[in-house]
């Protein structure tokens, strides 16, 4: 496998905040065309991991690579799209129009390729069309709902021409309908562009709707609990039909996934979950 086909590569990454160890010897590769979900409890280190991936934090030891280049020295940001959590109220009140925000997100591309104002505008409208927000282009962002704002941010992430999409808890705070809409848009973009997608999430629905691989961050480690099963290009082949059921979930980790579902109060009525509940009641 050529290195450039691996979008994200963490090699023996350890990270400590002062003396508190957060991650230790984490290894993770996300290949082109693959969707990988990072799950884990609050404070487990998921966000730290995503901040290391985008080069905002430098690992205490080990290597974090984006397309084969160290994340902290990475320059080719046109290849990366990033959607963060629904921002706080103050950002929601920011005086920016939808068009302005998507247009400014072409920053990396504009640095590389000379683009006319017309071309920029066309690309902006195209990206807004992809997420169904063309009618809102002249709106100011404080007039958007949470779901609409996240779709605009997805347009910002897709406008560059990315090969990798990093979604950092993108649907936290959204209602079910908005979440499902968001996931379907990500799925479409993934299928159309053969994107590598790294999603940090709390939402089991995301795993059902998107995730081809599930990696749990716990006890300073990242452990794959539902694997590719069909090779890394499985998702690219299955596209929109790719869901968790079609994956090889490691047997010894099936319980973990269901436990995760239980903690998210979305509990699927699987035997494992039922067993866990029975066992809990017996102990109680």
């Amino acid at each position: 496998m050529q290195e450039s086909q691996i979008a994200v590569s963490l090699q023996d990454v350890s990270f400590s905040y002062k003396k508190t160890r957060v991650l230790s010897d984490v290894n993770l590769d996300v290949h082109q065309g693959e969707i990988c979900a990072l799950i884990g409890d609050n404070g487990a280190g998921k966000s730290t991991l995503s901040r290391i991936v985008v080069g905002e934090l430098e690992p205490t030891s080990g290597k974090s690579l984006l397309f084969g280049t160290s994340s902290t020295r990475f320059k080719d940001w046109e290849r990366v799209g990033y959607v963060p959590q629904l921002p706080s109220e103050s950002v929601n009140r920011f005086p920016a129009s939808v068009v302005e925000l998507v247009d400014a997100s072409q920053y990396a591309r504009a640095k590389k390729v000379k683009m006319s104002a017309k071309e920029r505008r066309e690309r902006t409208l195209e990206a807004l069309d992809l997420v169904g927000m063309t009618d809102f282009s002249t709106r100011i962002i404080r007039e958007l709902s949470g779901g609409q704002l996240q779709r605009v941010r997805l347009a910002c992430a897709l406008v560059g021409n990315p090969s990798l999409l990093i979604l950092d808890e993108p649907t936290t705070g959204l209602d079910k309908e908005s979440r499902n809409h968001f996931y379907s848009l990500v799925r479409e973009a993934h299928a159309a562009r053969d994107l590598a997608v790294l999603i940090v999430t709390h939402d089991l629905a995301a795993l059902d709707a998107l995730a081809c691989r599930v990696v749990e961050v716990a006890d300073h480690k990242a452990t794959e609990i539902a694997g590719r099963g069909h090779g890394h290009d499985h998702c690219a082949v299955h596209g929109a039909h790719c869901d968790l059921d079609s994956h090889h979930v490691h047997d010894h980790n099936r319980g973990k996934l269901d436990d995760f579902a239980l903690t998210e109060s979305l509990g699927p009525a699987s035997d494992v979950v039922q067993d866990a509940q029975d066992s809990y009641e017996r102990r109680a």
Binding site: V54, W77, E78, F94, P95, A104, S105, Y107, G160
Partner: protein, 270 residues
């Protein structure tokens, strides 16, 4: 009144600073660093006092102190990454403390006082030149780096992930603010400059529907209130710095009122 040279200079300086201070103020307010103007202007007072004691030009002292203060803000901000407002407050505390102590040693205290509330009508030709140069630099900075400033004010992580060199531009921006505050402290006053940085932006935020509009409106409100404030202060014999800021606050209240009335009328017609 326009035939007097001191009024001509005052009006030129008022218009320039009225446009520039809110222009950098937009980014300051939206990055939630509203106290940065306060912190740097108080630090500039320490520089003024230091300059007077050392017998050098107080404006040069103010510039040196503001640059030092700006470096400290960036340094402390990196240290307390999630509490950038605290960083600014710490620098302000140090600046005001130093200004307080040094003011006791200043030989000419009435001249020192003029730096607190400014003396826009007594600027020298040399100071006008300095203000013109720094205004041009600040406008150039805000114009050429408008995309970067916009993205960083919106969300620094997003800005980083589209390739903006966040640390470098943050640093450059704080230096630009420091220079603007240092020259403005002499003319509109150390205690007033931060109000000029915030109030016109608050006005613009009420009526703008994009970042571009916000910058334009903030500068326009700043310019008009500076001009209006100078005229009113001349006619009524008031202190110019204070009058300018009060006029900006009245403008903000007027915008609130008009918005309220428009909303009421809209709900009635619906």
């Amino acid at each position: 009144m326009f035939e007097y040279v001191f009024m001509q200079r005052g009006i030129l300086v008022g218009i320039l600073l009225g446009a520039i201070i809110p222009l950098v103020g937009v980014t300051v307010v939206l990055k939630r660093l509203s106290m940065i103007g306060d912190a740097l202007s108080h630090t500039s007072l320490a520089g003024v006092a230091g300059g007077m004691i050392a017998g050098i030009n107080p404006v040069a002292g103010a510039i040196a102190a503001c640059l030092g203060g700006a470096l400290c803000v960036e340094g402390v901000r990196r240290h307390f990454k999630d509490q950038s407002e605290l960083a600014v407050a710490i620098v302000m505390a140090a600046g005001i403390g130093l200004a307080g102590v040094l003011s006791g040693f200043v030989p000419n205290s009435s001249s020192f006082n003029s730096f607190m509330f400014g003396s826009i009508l007594t600027v020298s030709e040399q100071e006008v030149q300095m203000i013109v140069v720094i205004s041009v630099l600040a406008v150039a900075f805000c114009f050429f780096l408008r995309k970067e400033l916009f993205l960083m004010s919106f969300d620094e992580r997003h800005a980083r992930c589209v390739g903006v060199p966040v640390s470098l531009i943050n640093f450059g921006f704080v230096i630009a603010v420091a220079l603007v505050v240092a020259v403005a402290a002499r003319t509109v006053g150390s205690l007033i400059v931060s109000s000029m940085m915030v109030v016109p932006v608050a006005c613009a935020l009420q009526i703008s529907r994009s970042w571009k509009q916000c910058c334009l409106y903030a500068s326009t409100v700043g310019m008009l209130t500076s001009l209006g404030g100078l005229v009113v202060s001349y006619e009524l014999g008031l202190k110019p710095g204070g009058t300018i800021v009060l006029l900006a606050v009245v403008t903000l209240l007027f915008i609130f009122l008009v918005k309220r009335v428009v909303l009421l009328l809209k709900t009635r017609t619906v």
